[in-house]
Amino acid sequence: MPTSLTTLQRWNLDKPLGTALLMLAIISLGVIFSASGQDVSITVAQLVRLGIGFAVLFLAAQIHPDTLARWTPYIYLGGLVLLVIVLLTGVIGKGAQRWLNLGLFSIQPSEIMKLAVPMMVAWYFSQQHLPATSKQAIIAAGIILLPAALVAVQPDLGTALMIASSGAFVLFLAGMGWTLIAGILILIAASAPLVWSYFLHDYQRNRILTLFDPTADPLGTGYHTIQSMIAVGSGGIFGKGWLESSQARLDFLPESSTDFIFAVFAEEFGLFGIIILFSIFIFATGRGIIIATYAQETYTRLLAGSLALTFFLYFFVNIGMVTGILPVVGVPLPIISYGGSSVVTLMAGFGMLMSIHANRKIAQP
C-alpha cells in the first residue's frame, strides 16, 4: 500500500470521475430551476436527491468488489422476487406497475435490476472460463432476459431494453463469439415484425412511426418530438441564455424537467453549451472505461465496462430521442433529469466503479 493517501483516496473516491459528476449535478440544478419555471422547491428537491445520490455513491464506494461479487446472486434473486411482487401487487403509477410501496418509501425494482443484471452476468462469467462459449452465452442470455421480460410486461419497454443492454454489454466484453453475436442480431431482426405486431402497444408503435414523420400527427404522438426539436433548433449556436427557454417556460415542451430536459439545455445554451456538456459526459464515460482497463479481475472489469457503456447508452438514447432520431422512450438524461430512483441507481453504479478502481490489483508485468 502506498504510504501517503489523500482524503479522497482513503475513502476510495476517484477525483476525475467525481469532478465530472459534480459538474453534471450543478448543471442539473441550473437547468431544472429554469425548466420548472424557476420553482425553488423542485430545485431543492433535486438537490436533495442528488445529495442522496452522492451519499449512495459514497457508501457504494466503501463496498469491496469481492464483497459485492459475493452478494451479487442474492441481490439478483432478490430483485427478481421484487419484480414478481410488483407485477402482482404493484401500485398503479402512470398507467404502469413499476413502484413497490415499502411503507416508508417506494422503490422501483426495475432500478435495482439496472445494476443487478450486469453484476449477475459479470459474476456468472467470473465463475467460468473465458472467452464465453455458446453455452455460457445462452445461460447469460437467460440471466438477462428473465428480468428484462418482467420489466417489459410492466410495461416499461425503455427500462427493459436498457437492462437487457447492460447485460448484453457484459456478454460482449466477455468475448462472446462473433458468429453468436451475428446470430443474435439476425434473430432480433427476424423477430422484429413479430414483436411489432404482437408485443408492442399501440402507443409504442405510434412512437416509432412518429420518428419517421413527426408532422403526421403534430398534436398527438408527434407533439413531443416536434416541440423538442423546435426547442433544440431555436437554441442556435449560443442559445437564448439561461432561464430564457420559451418552449419550456410557456409549457410547449412536455416533460421539460424530466425526459426532455436536454431540449431546455439546448435551447438556453446552444451548440456551444452542448459541446461542453458532451465533453463532460464523454469524459465520465471514458473514465469508466479506463477504470475497466485497470481492473484485473473478470468480475470487476466486466462490471466496470458495462457500467461505463450503460451510462453512455442512457446519454445517447435520451439525446437521440430529444433530437428526433430515436423513438420517444422514457429514458432520462443521466443525473441531469429530475427524478429520484435513476439518480440513486446511477450514483450507486459510479460508487461501484470507484470501489473497483480503488481496490484494483497492481498491474501484472
Binding site: 433548433g233 431555436s234 449556436i237 410557456l250 459541446i275
Partner: protein, 615 residues
C-alpha cells in the same frame, strides 16, 4: 500442450477484453459524432426554421378590427352606424353534435328557420374552427338565458359585436348599399391582411364604393401565450385606426320625400346641384331593407325579393334605362340652333302628323289636330312632335348622336357608385354591331326621344344640370366629405368639371332655357300645372316614354293597355330658373303623363329644397 481441464487463461481473457473494449470506444465515438451531427443540423442548418416556429409558438397575433366609419347625409343625419348587439356564435369544431346542440339552444331562445338555414350555409362554406353566427340581436333576457347554460354547451359563445345598422331602414338603400359577410369571392379580390378580424365588407352602393375609406386599418396585438393559448403578457400593440366617417351630398329630407312620393309606384328620382354636381337625391323605388343583408339573407326572403314583379333589387336611378321621350327635345333643339339647321324663328306647320318625302307612313303628333304654325319655343313649350320630326330629319342621326354625347348620354356619368349603366346612343359602332341597317324612320322618331336611345335617370338629371349650369357639366358625386373620427378634421370633396359645351353652342343656350321656363310657366306649357302657384321660376320639360310600340292604325287606348305596358312618365326640371340650385329628373314607370305623374314630384322636391317646406 493443451490441457483437458480448462483453466482460467487470464492473458487471453484480458486480450479479448481489451479488443472488445476498443470496439466499444470506437462505437462511442461514432455515436457521439452522430449526435453532434444531428445537433449541428438542428441548431445551425435549420436554425432559422426552428427559430420561426419557436416565435410562432410563443407569440400569438390577435387582430384588432377597426370600427367602420359612419355614413351621414349632408346635414349629419346618420344613415349607417355600428350598433352593439348580442350574437350567439357556434364554433363547429368544438360543438360536437350540432343537431342536438341547436335543439338545446332553440329551447332557450327562438331560432327561426331562416337563422338556421343561414347558419348551415355559412357552416358548410367556412372552416370548422371559425365561429359562425346562429342568432343576432338577442335581447338581454335571451342573452342571460344563454349565458347561464353556456358552460354546458361547448362551442357556444355569446359575443357583443358591433354590427352595421341602417337606422333609416329602406331609405336610400339604392345609394347606401349595405355590408355583408366576406364571401369566398370577396376573399379572392381583397387584401385579406386588411380584413383580419373583420367579418363584413361593403357589398353594394356607397358601402362598396368607399370601402377603403370606411374600413379603417386593422390593429395587431401581439401576445406571448403559453401552450394552452392563455395570454401571459402583451408584447406589442398597434392600435386599429377607425374608418373615416363619410358625409354624402344626399339630403335625407329630399330623399324621403322622393321615395314617399313614389311609394306604391315604381320609378326613380335624381336631384343634382348644378353648380357642383352634388347628388342631393338618388332614389329608386321600390326599396328594401338593407339590414337583412348584413348577416346574410335567408333564402326565402331573398327569393321573394328576386321574384318580386316590381324588382326592388334593381337600382332604377343607376341602372334603369328608359327612352327619354320628349325630355330629349331641349337638347335636340339646342343642337339644331347651334348647328345652324334652324333658328329661333324657323317655323313648321304642324298638322298633327309628319311623313318622310315619298312615303305614306304618318308619324303622328301627340295632338291629333296639330299645333299649327310652330317655332322652336312653342315646340318645346307644347312639346310639338312634328317640329322635332322635321328637325331630326334635317339634322340626321350622326349629328344628333354627336350633339347629345357632350351631355353625357350613352356613357357612364362616373358617379361614385359601381356598376353604372351607360344607356344607349346609336353611335357608328353600335350601328355596325347591329345586324340591321339604319332606317330613315328611326331618325324621325329619334327626334322625340324614341327608338334606339336609352337614358338612365342619373344621365337625364346630369344633362339637365348641364343646361342649368350654362353648359358646364359637373361630375355628379354622392360623396360630400370625409371626417377623421378622432380629430374630426373634415376633408371636403372638391367639385370637378366633367366637360363643357363647345363655345359656339353657348350663345344658343338662353333660348332653350327660356323655352323650358315657358313649359312650366307658359299658358300652354305642358308643365303648367306645377308652375301656376310656384314662388320661384322653374325650367322643365315633360316626357312620355313608350313601353309598347303602337302600330300604324292603332290608337293608344289607356283602358285596354295593362298597367305595366302603359307609358312611363318623365319630367326634367331645374330651379330657380335664373339662379339654378337644383336640377331634377323624375321617372314614374307606367305613370303615363310626365305632367301629371312626374312633374308634381319634382315640384315637391324643389319646394322642400328651396323653400324648406313641402307644399
Amino acid at each position: 500442450m493443451k490441457l483437458d481441464i480448462p483453466i482460467k487463461d487470464s492473458f487471453r481473457e484480458s486480450r479479448v477484453f481489451s479488443s472488445r473494449l476498443t470496439i466499444t470506444v470506437i462505437g462511442i465515438a461514432i455515436l457521439s459524432l452522430l449526435l453532434l451531427a444531428r445537433l449541428v443540423y438542428l441548431q445551425i442548418v435549420s436554425y432559422g426554421h426552428y427559430e420561426t416556429l419557436s416565435q410562432k409558438n410563443r407569440i400569438n397575433s390577435l387582430p384588432l378590427p377597426p370600427v367602420r366609419g359612419l355614413i351621414l347625409d349632408r346635414n349629419g343625419v346618420v344613415l349607417a352606424q355600428n350598433f352593439p348587439v348580442y350574437t350567439l356564435e357556434i364554433t363547429p369544431e368544438l360543438a360536437g353534435d350540432m343537431e342536438s346542440l341547436i335543439t338545446d339552444i332553440s329551447r332557450l331562445i327562438e331560432i327561426s328557420a331562416g337563422d338556421l338555414e343561414r347558419f348551415n350555409k355559412q357552416r358548410k362554406k367556412r372552416p370548422k374552427f371559425e365561429p359562425q353566427v346562429l342568432r343576432t340581436h338577442l335581447s338581454d333576457a335571451e342573452a342571460a338565458r344563454i349565458a347561464v347554460k353556456r358552460p354546458f354547451m361547448p362551442g357556444v359563445e355569446l359575443q357583443v359585436r358591433l354590427q352595421r345598422h341602417y337606422p333609416l331602414g329602406t331609405l336610400g338603400i339604392h345609394t347606401l348599399g349595405y355590408v355583408g359577410r366576406i364571401s369566398e369571392d370577396d376573399q379572392r379580390t381583397i387584401d385579406t391582411s386588411r380584413y383580419r378580424g373583420t367579418q363584413y365588407i361593403g357589398k353594394l352602393g356607397i358601402e362598396k364604393s368607399y370601402e377603403s375609406i370606411l374600413l379603417g386599418r386593422v390593429g395587431i396585438e401581439r401576445n406571448e401565450v403559453n401552450a394552452y393559448g392563455r395570454k401571459l403578457r402583451e408584447v406589442s400593440r398597434i392600435a386599429p385606426v377607425a374608418g373615416k366617417n363619410l358625409y354624402l351630398n344626399i339630403d335625407t329630407r329630399l330623399q324621403a320625400l322622393a321615395e314617399n312620393a313614389l311609394a306604391e309606384k315604381r320609378g326613380a328620382v335624381v336631384a343634382i346641384e348644378p353648380s357642383t354636381g352634388a347628388v342631393l337625391t338618388f332614389a329608386s323605388v321600390p326599396t328594401y331593407d338593407p339590414n337583412q343583408f348584413v348577416n346574410g339573407i335567408d333564402q326565402a326572403s331573398y327569393k321573394s325579393l328576386l321574384d318580386n314583379i316590381d324588382k326592388p333589387l334593381i337600382n332604377r336611378a343607376l341602372n334603369g334605362q328608359y327612352a327619354p321621350g320628349s325630355t330629349i327635345k331641349p337638347f335636340l333643339g339646342l343642337a339644331g340652333l347651334a348647328l345652324g339647321k334652324i333658328t329661333t324663328t324657323t317655323e313648321v306647320n304642324c298638322k298633327g302628323w309628319y311623313s318622310l318625302p315619298g312615303s305614306r307612313h304618318r308619324f303622328r303628333d301627340w295632338k291629333k289636330t296639330g299645333h299649327g304654325i310652330t317655332n322652336l319655343k312653342k315646340a318645346i313649350t307644347e312639346s310639338c312632335d312634328v317640329y322635332f320630326y322635321t328637325l331630326a330629319t334635317k339634322l340626321g342621326i350622326e349629328l344628333m348622336t354627336q350633339a347629345l354625347a357632350p351631355f353625357g348620354f350613352g356613357r357612364k356619368t362616373g358617379i361614385d357608385l359601381a356598376l353604372e349603366s351607360k344607356g344607349l346612343l346609336p353611335t357608328q359602332e353600335w350601328k355596325d354591331a347591329r345586324k340591321e341597317p339604319w332606317y330613315a324612320g328611326e331618325t324621325v322618331i329619334f327626334g322625340i326621344g324614341q327608338g334606339p336611345i336609352l337614358v338612365t335617370p342619373l344621365q337625364l338629371a346630369t344633362a339637365t344640370a348641364m343646361i342649368a349650369n350654362n353648359g358646364v357639366r359637373m361630375q355628379p358625386i354622392l360623396r360630400f366629405a370625409s371626417e377623421n373620427p378622432v380629430t374630426h378634421k373634415i376633408n371636403r370633396f372638391t367639385p370637378k368639371v366633367r366637360n363643357r359645351l363647345p363655345d359656339f353652342v353657348l350663345p344658343y343656350l338662353p333660348a332653350i332655357q327660356e323655352a323650358m321656363v315657358n313649359v312650366v310657366h307658359g299658358k300652354k306649357g305642358t308643365g303648367r300645372r306645377i308652375g301656376w302657384n310656384a314662388k320661384y321660376k322653374i325650367a322643365g320639360k315633360t316626357g312620355t316614354s313608350q313601353v309598347k310600340g303602337i302600330k300604324q292604325n292603332e290608337v293608344y287606348n289607356r283602358d285596354l293597355t295593362p298597367e305595366r305596358f302603359r307609358d312611363h312618365a318623365l319630367f326634367i326640371a331645374y330651379a330657380p330658373a335664373d339662379d339654378p340650385k337644383i336640377a331634377v329628373a323624375v321617372i314614374v314607370e307606367n305613370g303615363e303623363h310626365g305632367s301629371s305623374a312626374a312633374a308634381p314630384i319634382a315640384r315637391k322636391l324643389m319646394d322642400e329644397y328651396l323653400l324648406g317646406n313641402a307644399s
